[in-house]
């Protein structure tokens, strides 16, 4: 028991566990596990046949952390920064990862990016559709009610906030469009 030196006994012995659970103890030796030791110097084991990788062409000024000495030789090329969100993101990368400003600006950039893209999608033949893109129709085909009712799921306490997060940018965009339109209409009346 805990208040004396002996460790509390488990209900089953190792032999009983070995008989009940397939593979019990197959990795029993702590020194014979794939991630032990954590660092194992073996540069020849990776398949790399270079000391330093050849550099991937930089097709636009690639944003990077100031904690890097230089642009890494390989990098992702998805979604180059553009628009107001792009400007926010580029500015965010003037701060190091150790600064909250870096991450808060990036999160702000993400929200602006979503609004920019929702608005511009309305001018295309493929506008955003909050019904299909949220997958919310699966509530009707995948037992939305039965999955929640009587389940005592603690996440239900905050799931009601999810629609606010989804609809919020649309309300903000609608309000911005309305205010802009009203301003333009008033301006043309004065003219």
């Amino acid at each position: 028991m805990t208040y004396t030196a002996a460790k509390p006994q488990n209900a089953e012995t190792s032999e009983q566990l070995r008989a009940r659970i397939p593979g019990w103890g197959a990795d029993l030796d702590p020194d014979d596990r794939p991630s032990v030791p954590r660092e194992r110097y073996d540069p020849g084991a990776t398949g790399a046949h270079w000391d330093f990788p050849e550099r991937q062409p930089e097709k636009w000024p690639r944003e990077r952390s100031p904690e890097h000495k230089f642009l890494t030789p390989v990098f992702g090329t998805a979604c180059p920064p553009r628009g107001v969100s792009g400007a926010i993101r580029k500015y965010a990368y003037t701060y190091s990862e150790g600064r909250a400003a870096h991450w808060l600006l990036l999160i702000a950039g993400d929200r602006v990016d979503a609004i920019e893209n929702h608005l511009t999608s309305l001018l295309t033949l493929h506008p955003d559709n909050p019904i299909t893109q949220t997958g919310v129709l699966s509530e009707f085909t995948r037992h939305g009610v039965r999955s929640r009712l009587g389940q005592r799921r603690t996440d239900l306490k905050h799931q009601a906030l999810d629609p606010v997060i989804v609809v919020g940018p649309w309300i903000a965009a609608g309000a911005a469009a309305y205010l802009t339109l009203r301003k333009l209409t008033r301006g043309s009346r004065r003219g």
């Binding site: 009940r20 659970i21 596990r33 794939p34 790399a48 050849e54 990862e97 999160i107 920019e116 005592r152």
Partner: protein, 382 residues
């Protein structure tokens, strides 16, 4: 090609995108045959990961067939069936040379604290992911591995992250024969961590969650003793009671940034993004493990600060161990365990969803509908 595309928090769609091109001599282009949605994809989907850009394709769990290779690729050829670890890594930097493949320094210009991960925001390098018909795979001679002929595709895709991560998490818990191990979270990684704890000789494996259907799976798949934290006033006190007030020898956080169990913690992180993640499960792990015990963190958290109880961890003399999993290090041993019948990864797969319906897949997984544990994504071309 058809690809999943992020459109903002809680919104994704499938649209036409250009087939990715070779951008580096050691690139390969892989035609995806099977992918998965990971629990950590939900952090992106919910808008929690900084620098997640509209237009990005998610997906860091995928397998496929090599379609093209760059001029310096030696180990792969078109037509090879490959499984691709979620880590993008060069194989030659300081960290890769020491086996820390998840911490590569040559693939992520956006952050030094994070390695490269497919389809996991620009904070993880800005690579498009595998929830698409094709994907660019950098360092084709380093990351991808050939899928053994005897291995099922569904088992292979789960080796690219979830199974390897759960197995790695159990290793970080430093389990010794007879140890009491408590796993927080009965999602895919938690289930695999619980199962792996037995391989390492645990004497008792306890799994905690609030979703009863997942706890049922933890009992049947991972032979675990389970407790639903909703049924207890204080799950930490309950864990103390059932361990003779000693606490567990090791605890594994397999929940991460969107942990439930404390409304304020959850809302300030998952909804208001004021924390890197909700550390409820991590704090329970710290409080429920015995003094001198080990906490292994497999749950993914964002890069911002989180309200973690470091005072308790320090005062209890805990060892906190964590990392993203260096996937390929785990494979040889996991292949053995699968061949020996000790593990059957695909036993936890609950949904197989066509790529065209991926928005429903994300909603089902996120809202925990239809007893969802692990959804796989089947691309159109496959």
């Amino acid at each position: 090609m058809r690809a999943m595309v992020y459109r903002g928090p809680y919104k994704v769609r499938v649209q036409e995108k250009d087939v990715p091109a070779i951008e580096h001599p050691n690139d390969a282009i892989v035609r995806v045959s099977l992918a998965a949605i990971c629990g950590s994809d939900l952090h992106l989907y919910h808008g929690m990961m900084p620098d997640t850009r509209v237009g990005m394709t998610f997906g860091h769990e995928f397998i496929g067939v090599v379609d093209q290779v760059g001029s310096s690729v030696q180990n792969l050829k078109p037509g090879d069936r490959v499984m691709v670890p979620f880590n993008v890594y060069c194989g030659s930097c300081y960290f890769c040379a020491r086996g820390l493949y998840a911490n590569c320094h040559n693939v992520n210009p956006n952050a030094t604290a994070v390695g490269g991960i497919y389809g996991y925001s620009h904070t993880s390098g800005g690579y498009d992911g595998g929830q698409a018909e094709y994907v660019r795979v950098p360092f084709a001679d380093v990351g991808p591995g050939l899928i053994p002929d005897w291995m099922d595709d569904e088992d292979a895709v789960l080796l690219t992250d979830a199974l390897s991560t759960g197995y790695f998490g159990a290793q970080l818990a430093d389990i010794r024969e007879g140890d009491v191990v408590v796993v927080f979270g009965a999602g895919p990684v938690g289930l695999y961590a619980a199962k792996s704890a037995w391989l390492m000789g645990a004497g008792r494996v306890i799994v905690i969650d609030h979703l009863q259907y997942r706890l049922d799976k933890a009992r049947s798949f991972a032979h675990a003793e389970t407790y639903n934290f909703v049924e207890y006033d204080d799950i930490v006190v309950h864990l103390k009671k059932i361990t003779e007030y000693l606490g567990a020898d090791a605890a594994i956080d397999a929940v991460g940034a969107e942990a439930d169990g404390n409304f304020l913690q959850h809302v300030t992180s998952a909804k208001l993004k004021l924390q890197g993640g909700s550390p409820v499960a991590l704090n329970w792990a710290i409080d429920s493990v015995r003094k001198g015990g080990t906490v292994s963190v497999m749950g993914a958290y964002g890069p911002m600060f989180s309200a973690v109880k470091f005072g308790d961890a320090m005062n209890k003399g805990l060892t906190l161990r964590m990392n993203q999993c260096p996937v390929k290090r785990q494979w040889p041993r996991l292949f053995e365990h699968i061949r020996n019948g000790y593990l059957k990864p695909s036993d936890i797969v609950t949904h197989r969803i066509p790529l065209e319906h991926i928005a429903e897949g994300y909603h089902i997984f996120s809202a925990k509908l239809d007893n969802c544990i692990k959804p796989l994504i089947v691309p159109t071309a496959s």
